[in-house]
């Protein structure tokens, strides 16, 4: 009994320490958009209060909204010029991930992102934004190019998950997701990732091992889909709503747990209501995050990046 109590106390202490640390983290520092302050305060208040099951599910639905802007919708609005690069230089061009070079705030940056689509034919062509290993290899190729030329690197994450297909497995899906993370954590250039819709499991984190990881207000980031979790733990995919509430994949929770560094606001009602406004808000947050990490010495930046991911998790001892 005594041991149990001690364990409980230690746990509480550790969580409190972690929360205290999190409170010091910047929440949207310097996003220069007037009229956003009240929204920000609401957001902060909401982080204080635990979202209900319905509220969490609403985030899941918004994150998957078919009118939500996708990577290229943002690219055409945020970048002054963008040249898409194609192919993994080995086998094919996986259209579930796009990548290229563009001009952002007057200088060249490299970008990759998962790409979903609205038109049914394009959806199939892009495999619903679920990439094969070839897509992650394309991303790695763009990262390497950016690193060599000293271009800052931006990744936009929006995928249900890496594709669970026959070829994907035969081509080494797990191994390439691992190598993509390894390459990303090693980069000498400043890196920022943002979850812009669905941050689904290994396929998402493979593009999110960045100096700063941001999350849009109505996006989700999770180890497994609510449906997948429900079918395993509840043995009923219909319990997805309960699973979502238990997984806590919403931005407020991810921020609270120290997994993301800042939450990016969206226009009222969600990004799907106003793509232009959503892009302006995202661009402002990306600029701020990049400015933040660009000021660091490259060696120090890599060390801090390692440290951040090394310290992820909550355990007892």
């Amino acid at each position: 009994m005594a041991a149990e109590r001690t364990q409980g106390a230690v746990e509480q202490l550790k969580l409190r320490e972690r929360l205290a640390k999190l409170r010091d983290l910047p929440l949207l520092r310097g996003v220069g958009v007037s009229g956003e302050m009240a929204r920000l305060q609401r957001q902060i208040d909401r982080i204080g209060a635990a979202p209900t099951e319905d509220e969490v599910w609403q985030e899941v639905e918004l994150a998957r909204h078919q009118d939500r802007p996708y990577t290229l919708d943002y690219v055409e609005r945020m970048f002054e010029d963008f040249i898409e690069l194609h192919g993994d230089r080995a086998l094919t061009d996986d259209k579930a991930i796009v990548g290229g070079l563009g001009r952002f705030n007057g200088r060249t940056v490299a970008l990759v992102g998962h790409q979903k689509a609205r038109d049914i034919r394009e959806r199939v062509d892009r495999n619903y934004g679920m990439a094969h290993p070839e897509g992650y290899r394309k991303a790695m190729r763009v990262m390497e190019l950016a690193d060599r030329h000293g271009f800052p690197f931006i990744a936009l994450v929006d995928t249900l998950g890496a594709y669970p297909g026959v070829k994907a497995e035969q081509h080494g899906q797990g191994g390439w997701l691992a190598r993509c993370q390894l390459q990303m954590i090693r980069l000498g250039i400043p890196t920022v990732s943002c979850i812009i819709g669905e941050g689904g499991s290994g396929g998402a984190v493979a593009l999110a091992v960045a100096d700063r990881v941001l999350m849009q207000e109505n996006s989700i980031y999770s180890v497994i889909t609510p449906e997948g979790c429900a079918s395993i733990l509840w043995r009923d995919a219909g319990e997805a709503k309960k699973a979502a509430a238990a997984l806590k994949p919403d931005a407020a929770h991810c921020f609270q747990l120290g997994v993301v560094d800042a939450v990016v606001p969206e226009p009222p009602g969600g990004a799907h209501n106003d793509h232009d406004a959503a892009a302006r808000l995202l661009a402002a947050s990306l600029s701020e995050a990049l400015r933040d990490v660009e000021s660091l010495d490259p060696v120090e930046r890599r060390r801090l990046r390692h440290r951040k991911f090394r310290d992820m998790g909550v355990f007892l001892e």
Partner: protein
């Protein structure tokens, strides 16, 4: 579409309709053994060569020179940061797993000597919540890497895992980049990572440290996949999957593992590898 993506396969357990076979009955040739017989034969079926699962402590006995394993971080335990509750509380599942397995979590780690070569050894145990990786497993792996880097000895890692532990939500996903970061540190220190993938090594574990071994060794017949055949079959309805889909043999054919080593040969094989990684020929 959404329900098909189910990459974390822990806890799926046996099919409810499937009859439960005795753990010492060979699923391949149906021979039945006493526990001592199987243990003496490294839990390989003497009839057909089927590899039964091996618990973590027994694996250590199989691989390490007698009395050389010094476990560390044995007090490390999972917390419940999400206060996760499905049909039961995560805390309850943890307590039950600890009682059932005698382990603090799904990995044990420590210093060891294999065939007279010093190394760090980290071994996963599928019996502890499907070998799933939460914060405790991630931390144990990272510390094992740090010790290996500091001692400049190889890290031998034996995996058996259904993937990330759902009950720790996004924090369990974060164990992927966390362990990947540790492998990077290991590489910086020029310490080798030898990854031994056993049945099953899937989802979040194959998508992180397990796949980053300098040398990747697999046990025969092991399922080594990001997504297992059951879920892939749901994606490609109607298409017949290859018979060895996702197995070690298929992985070897496609170039993802260096060697498939039968269990009785594993210890001498690791000994030879460790000798080759020793600086200046030892």
């Amino acid at each position: 579409m959404a329900s098909r993506i189910d990459v974390s396969i822990q806890h799926r357990g046996p099919e409810p309709e499937q009859e439960r076979k005795h753990p010492n009955t060979c699923p391949s040739c149906h021979s039945h053994y006493k526990d001592e017989e199987l243990e003496a034969n490294l839990r390989v079926c003497p009839q057909c060569g089927h590899h039964f699962p091996v618990r973590a402590r027994e694996r250590v006995i199989q691989l390490a020179d007698r009395g050389t394993f010094e476990e560390v971080d044995g007090d490390l335990r999972s917390a419940d940061p999400l206060e996760f509750f499905d049909l039961r509380a995560y805390k309850e599942r943890l307590a039950e797993a600890e009682v059932a397995t005698g382990l603090g979590d799904a990995m044990i780690a420590g210093a060891a000597v294999i065939e007279r070569r010093p190394c760090e050894l980290a071994v996963m145990d599928f019996a502890f919540m499907g070998g799933s990786m939460g914060s405790a497993v991630g931390e144990k792996f990272v510390r094992a890497s740090e010790r290996a880097a500091a001692r400049r000895v190889p890290l031998v890692c034996v995996t058996a895992s259904g993937g990330a532990r759902m009950q720790e939500g996004i924090l369990s996903l974060m164990q992927l980049p966390k362990t990947v970061a540790a492998v990077d540190e290991l590489r910086e220190a020029r310490a080798a990572l030898i990854s031994v993938m056993t049945h099953p090594t899937t989802a979040g574990v194959i998508a992180s440290f397990a796949s980053l071994g300098d040398v990747i060794v697999a046990e025969p017949g092991a399922l080594l996949a990001f997504t297992g055949p059951r879920v892939v079959q749901q994606t490609v309805k109607g298409e017949k999957l290859p018979d060895d889909f996702g197995l070690a043999e298929s992985n070897q054919r496609f170039g993802h593992v260096d060697a498939i080593i039968p269990r009785p040969e594993l210890r001498p094989y690791l000994g030879r590898l460790l000798a080759l990684f020793e600086r200046n020929g030892g």
